[in-house]
Amino acid sequence: MHTETQSKVSSIAISTAADSQDLTSQQQLLNELGKAIAQVNRIVLGHPDAVRLAFCSLLAGGHVLVEDLPGVGKTTLANALACTLGLEFRRIQFTSDLLPADVVGISVYSQTNERFAFQPGPIFSQIVLADEINRAPPRTQSALLEAMSEEHITVDGKQRELPRPFFVIATQNPVDLAGTWLLPDSQLDRFLLKIKLGYPPAQAERMLLEQPDRQTFLTSAEPILNTDKLQTLIQRANQVHASGALLDYIQALLSASRQHAQISVGLSPRAGLALLRASRAYALLHHRQHILPEDVQAVFVALAGHRVKIIEQHSEQTPDPSQIAQDILHATAVP
């Protein structure tokens, strides 16, 4: 039995002999990716799942919304990602008086050239950390969200391309805190995943207290990946195989979300495509060339939680969207 499997493996190896060069380079890339994840995990203690999801979103070419209480390490996570990936990084602190121009940039009349020159805003950067996005007024929020979906910005009638890869990590306080504007429902799905950090486990928290300040870790962090490598990885993620059985499973999840009693608007076909994309990236993170149902399940809650519209039920307790997403997962059979 054992030899049979070995022969199988070798046959695969032979079949792809032409790409063996490619294969080793890919292996190398994946190893580097593993190292990168490890490094981020060293900086952000106690949130390995969140880190994996963040990387997953990155490889899927999607943006991330991190939602949690202040002080649990949202900004640290974003910083750690930027350092480790070796990308250009900007941070925008959203405040209630932030204007759209503060984000995208502004045309300034230049005395020397005697014409308007565009001063690119902080959004022209490979990784953008939009901190506390729900403290800015809706107009500013939508400026960012539009840039995210269109991957270019139109200022003064001129279209300006954003750099590639373009990755937004937005953080958000839970909405029941005062002085915040809720992100509009229709634009929430510009974020591929919505990650919750939560408090770190006891072990990690103790280590956090013990070790020196996170900032020192950040400064000492070395870039492990670069733009080219990241682009290749994104490309690889796109090539991960999704079998017919798996597509059936994703479809079953989508239709289950539309059938759920507590959901008024279920997942859209676009959400389905996003789910497939995220699952591909997640499979690649685990060095696999094909998606497993487990990959879909791992990203589903983070992906569906902010996309379904829950029936308002003020009476006793408001249901938690991620709990409902979990329900859907549990009610849907793996084919």
Binding site: M1, S15, S243, T332, V334
Partner: protein
Amino acid sequence: MFTGFGIMAKLTKRRPLVQRSVVLWVMATALFAILPHLTRMPILLSAALIAITGWRVSRFYRNPHWLLRTITVLCAVFIISWLYEGLWGRLPGSQLLCCMLVLKCLELNRSRDAMLMVSLSFFVVATWFLFSQSPLTFVYLVTATWLGLTTMIVINRGGTEQSEIRSMFVQGARLAIPAVPLALAMFFLFPRLSVPLWGIQGGELEGVSGLSNSMSPGDISNLFIDDGPAFRVTFSDPQPSQSELYWRGPVLTRFDGKRWTQSIYSSVVTQIKPERENADLSYEIELEPHRRQWLFALDYPAIYPGDSRLGLDYQLRSIRPVSNVRRYQISSDTSFRDNRALNSTLLNESLRIPDHVGRRARRLVAEWQAQDDSTNAIMQRALHHFRDNPFFYRLDALPLLDDPIDEFLFDSKVGYCEHYASAFTFLMRAAGIPARVVTGYQGGFDNGEYFLVRQSDAHAWAEVWLDDEHGWTRVDPTSWVAPNRVQQGSRAVVDVPNWLHAPWLVDMRNQVDKIRHWWNKNIVSFNANRQSRLLQPWGIERVDQRQLLLLLIVLSVIISAIVFWWYRRVDHIQHVDPVVRAYHKLLHRLRHAGIDTPIHAGPQTVMQKVIAYCPDIRQQVENLFNRYIHHRYAAPNISVEEQPQQSNRLALARRLNSFKLPKRR
């Protein structure tokens, strides 16, 4: 105070209209039900029914006004009663039912109407069995049940897509197929009525082929080309030779110049019967229904069924018309002589000939009498007359117009048994010898275990009163003209139409008849009497109805249990891929072993759980599950060395199936 309080509006809950696909299904069922009836309908009526069906399923259909619907129904009733002179009876009744079924489609709006139409269709199917109960009708029965049940399922689903038709038929089959054994059990064991609850009327003869109670030369000819079975015989004694097989039917004594009819004396029960002890030839006859009273037998029946009577002319008659296949035991006394029953009335009747026919024949007989007056001599002269003159045996004889005796004897000289029997009897009577015509069947085909007598074996011959010692003696003038007819059977002399008698075709027909025979024997003629002897093969002489019912209940429970078990199996999703099927079975086994594998667990999760359960065989488990995962989720391999997909698949399915969890210590 509360303005909105107490409003309990009575809502009109209206059921939705049926979908077009439902209409199509229902109309197909109805059409299938009336299909056999259409063959018996006047062509215009059946065309009208088909046209209405077509209109209903077409896209131009609109519900007609209720007045128009009522008029159409009345029209149908009127037409049928006009065609058949009344509505009472098998044929008009069933055809009216067909019309009502089709006309109901003009009011097919809700699922209630659809269900009613399907039920009516079942009823129409049942009425067809009044006309035919051949083995083919069994096939028709099962098919109609299947189609009807499928349609009921479709109605309850509210319609079907094109792609679902197949699965609908499968659903229908899952009800119809298990119903067959259960229905058969009920069929054999459900208590039967030994006496009918209400009267059975006979006398309806439409469409049943067979002998009639009168004969005018030229009558039987349509029977000769009818290859349908008349009856079957199983001899328990050595069977007599072919030329001895004269199956005696109606005895015709009266002659009005054109037509031979039965004497009223034939229904008088004879007092002088063959002795039971003398019976030396016993056989069983399975008679196809002919809706007359007479039963066929060889001369002369000594032991015969209790509900039949032997007339003065020794013709066997049943009390009731034979409307179903009938099986009866007969023993004949071949040595019996019918020489005592000739009273003066019967004698007179056997000599009477009308004056206006056969004048030349009478002159001929007078010539013969002048030479030799003895009975024997006259008879011989008459028979030799047929042989020595150019008489021919042909079925396509021209009809005789005014004087059937003289025209045949002196002009056409072409005819078949009826002509010869009729002419011969006339000649005998003209000579003052009592004579009569007997119709029946002659010969038969040895089909292995039984003798098959077809309609085409119909025959007519004469009986002559020789003297007090011999009594009535059978004389077959046809055998003098065409000896083959009697020695080899009707087929030897019949030449039309030729292709029907190709050897292979005849052989096939005989094989088919064997099936019919079996069917008639075991299913159609099954009755209360046979039911009580059902357990004879197992040594139980008689069962009463209480025991039968008990047996039925026990058997039903057993069969139902088997069917339910089968349902449990087939209901579950049947994955086409054997690997997936095997995997799901494995999950089922794991659940039974206590490993929690919920439906949402992916293969890798399941693998981890199995490994946690039995870490000893980690290698084996990983191997198996990885192969499954590879099969199901990985990209198809484009390797050259790859084994054929199918065999790979089956091997994996086998391995999944043979995977066993070790016993937990």
